[in-house]
């Protein structure tokens, strides 16, 4: 498979991930509005709206951090990186990325255990099992491992960018 084809698949996947994030934020918003309308205008308080919006917010944060937040959007501390030489910055990326990936991998089994254990509980109004709802954390960790492994690999091999990420159809 050539690089161009890989890039177009990557771009397609990223746009679908963006669709999901937009749907999640829209869910937070609409559920909350419904709550306001039903409580104040119709005097008919709903319980599930608050649950849906907090769960959608939880998903939005972790899904978004996993797939749609670009490196430039990340909130990081850039004082040292700005004064470091490109060579030093690559060392920084390798050290910090390796540390994060190792810590996430070492603790992953315990996290998977916790998430699968939560099948004993269900969300109170919508009745969905918590292991299903919490699975987004495993997705988040897996995506971070992949993302930072790529960052370490690129820094180590000296490639500055890979087309799959560049050709993601960003418009803004």
């Amino acid at each position: 498979m050539n690089a161009g084809r890989l890039a177009s698949i990557g771009g397609w996947l990223r746009r679908r991930a963006e669709n999901v994030a937009v749907a999640l934020l829209a869910t937070v918003f609409v559920a909350f509005l419904l709550q306001v309308v039903f409580r104040y205008l119709l005097n008919l308080p709903l319980g599930w709206t608050l649950e849906v919006s907090t769960l959608a917010w939880m998903w939005l944060v972790l899904w978004g951090a996993a797939f749609i937040v670009r490196p430039a959007d990340d909130i990081s501390f850039d004082i040292l990186c700005n004064v470091a030489s490109p060579r030093m910055r690559r060392v920084f990326d390798i050290v910090s990325g390796t540390a994060l990936v190792l810590l996430l991998l070492v603790t992953l089994p315990a996290v998977v255990d916790y998430v699968t254990f939560m099948k004993i509980e269900r969300a109170s109004y919508i009745g969905v099992r918590l292991d299903v709802l919490f699975s987004v954390y495993v997705i988040f960790v897996a995506a971070l491992v992949v993302r930072f492994s790529i960052r370490v690999w690129r820094a180590a091999s000296g490639t500055t960018h890979v087309p799959a990420v560049e050709a993601s159809g960003q418009t803004d």
Binding site: T107, A110, V111
Partner: protein, 432 residues
């Protein structure tokens, strides 16, 4: 002797952050190191983050306020509002700097979060200021961060809601108590801006003729009505701040799409996507703080600090001074909500015992913590504005220092002159 788990945790966070790892991931990594070193179940990190985000009704205001700002941005609402501010104060030297502060005061009436202010409206005004290189990006970022600090001091305010919860104080009077200090700080910031503008020769905006004013006010009326609707809702006891945030977003969408008809579906999609992206990057930071918060609570860090500073036998004034110093120092290192929820509860009973008024104390604490958002090295707002303006953090900090100085001056003033805070609540029936 092996280093203790908490030292390892703190060391990991500091080193990873310095190496440029996103701060939220650094806090998660440091907390994982702590859990492993202390022999605790590492899944506690996942549990804290998931349950924290899921249980944070108040935090929902963040994505909703960001979205309302983005939606106003897509339509012409914010431009109309900025046009109004511009007609008002743009004629003075450093005009857009003044516009920045005045819009913060107006927007403070709609948003409860400084981060949301900076990420939403701040993005717009930084764009306006740096267009064609009129202002240095670092100055635009610095004044945006400084003026965003005012947001949660003028009601509505999420930090004040949190304080009311931990101190069992009246939220209505706390909100009123923040009004005068907030306006005072706005005036102080505009003073600094005038001074800097004269020194550095910042541009002046075109003077607006008096006869154009009615038109500009009419154009800006829908966005100007927004704070009225929101504060009316909250003060009338009708809506909670988070609900008000949802109403704000709906109002922005309605006005842009139905009244002005200047947004397309594609624009709305892109605005929601940009909001989702901003919400997620801020949410991960808050999530990381929640995990780290667990470590701090387990280690009883607040108690150790108290023992360290020796808080016995103080007068009310020296107690307030000590609280201010401790909070300012902590604010350089920790995120405000963490301090508010973990450390402030220890001070509250002591303040009560010393006869300090809770509304006064609450306003001092919130002003202090908001200043903490812009104190280097760990000021959340600094990261946000540096990120938006793409200016290096170090030059943003340099341009921020004079603003920081007057804000600390304002903090000292309200600490030693309680009447500055308590005058308005008392005039409206507060008995304290």
């Amino acid at each position: 002797m092996p280093p203790d788990p908490f030292t390892l945790c703190l060391g990991t966070i500091i080193v990873l952050a310095l190496l440029g790892l996103p701060v939220g991931y650094g806090m998660i990594a440091g907390s994982l190191v702590y859990l492993l070193a202390a022999g605790q179940d590492p899944s506690i990190a996942a549990e804290q983050l998931l349950q924290g985000l899921r249980g944070s009704y108040i935090l929902l205001a963040i994505p909703l306020f960001i979205m309302s700002a983005e939606l106003m941005n897509v339509g012409s609402l914010t431009n109309r509002l900025l046009g109004f501010c511009n007609a008002l104060v743009g004629r003075f030297r450093g005009g857009l700097g003044h516009v920045n502060v005045v819009q913060s005061v107006i927007f403070a009436g709609m948003s409860g979060s400084a981060i949301a202010d900076a990420a939403g409206v701040g993005r717009l005004i930084i764009g306006m200021m740096t267009r064609d290189g009129r202002y240095p990006a670092s100055y635009a970022a610095a004044i945006t961060a400084a003026s965003a600090v005012i947001g949660p001091i003028i009601p509505p305010s999420i930090p004040m809601v949190l304080f009311a919860v931990v101190a069992d104080a009246s939220i209505g009077y706390l909100f009123l108590g923040g009004a005068v200090p907030g306006l005072l700080m706005a005036v102080a910031l505009m003073g600094v801006n005038s001074l800097r503008a004269r020194q550095r020769g910042f541009p002046v905006e075109e003077r607006t003729p008096l006869r154009a004013f009615p038109g500009i006010v009419a154009r800006a009326l829908p966005p100007l009505l927004m704070p009225v609707i929101l504060l009316g809702g909250i003060y009338g006891g009708a809506t909670t701040p988070t609900e008000a945030a949802a109403v704000a977003a709906a109002y922005a969408l309605l006005v842009s799409a139905v009244v002005y008809r200047d947004v397309s579906l594609g624009n709305v999609y892109r605005a929601v996507l940009a909001s989702a992206r901003a919400s997620a990057s801020i949410g991960v930071l808050v999530g990381g703080a929640m995990v780290f918060n667990y470590v701090i609570t387990v280690e009883q860090v607040p108690r150790q600090i108290l023992a360290l500073v020796g808080a016995d036998g103080l007068s009310a004034t020296s107690f307030l001074l000590m609280v201010n110093v401790v909070l300012l120092v902590l604010g350089c290192l920790l995120e405000g909500i963490t301090i508010l929820l973990v450390i402030v509860p220890i001070f509250v009973p002591m303040a009560g015992a010393l006869g300090i008024d809770m509304v006064h104390f609450g306003v001092i604490v919130v002003v202090n913590l908001m200043i903490g958002l812009i104190t280097p090295p760990y000021g959340l707002l600094l990261f946000v504005v540096a990120n938006i303006s793409r200016a290096p953090l170090l030059s943003v900090i340099r341009d921020l220092l004079p603003f920081l100085a007057v804000m600390i001056g304002a903090l000292a003033f309200i600490t030693f002159v309680p009447e500055a805070v308590l005058w308005l609540p008392r005039a409206l029936g507060y008995g304290g």
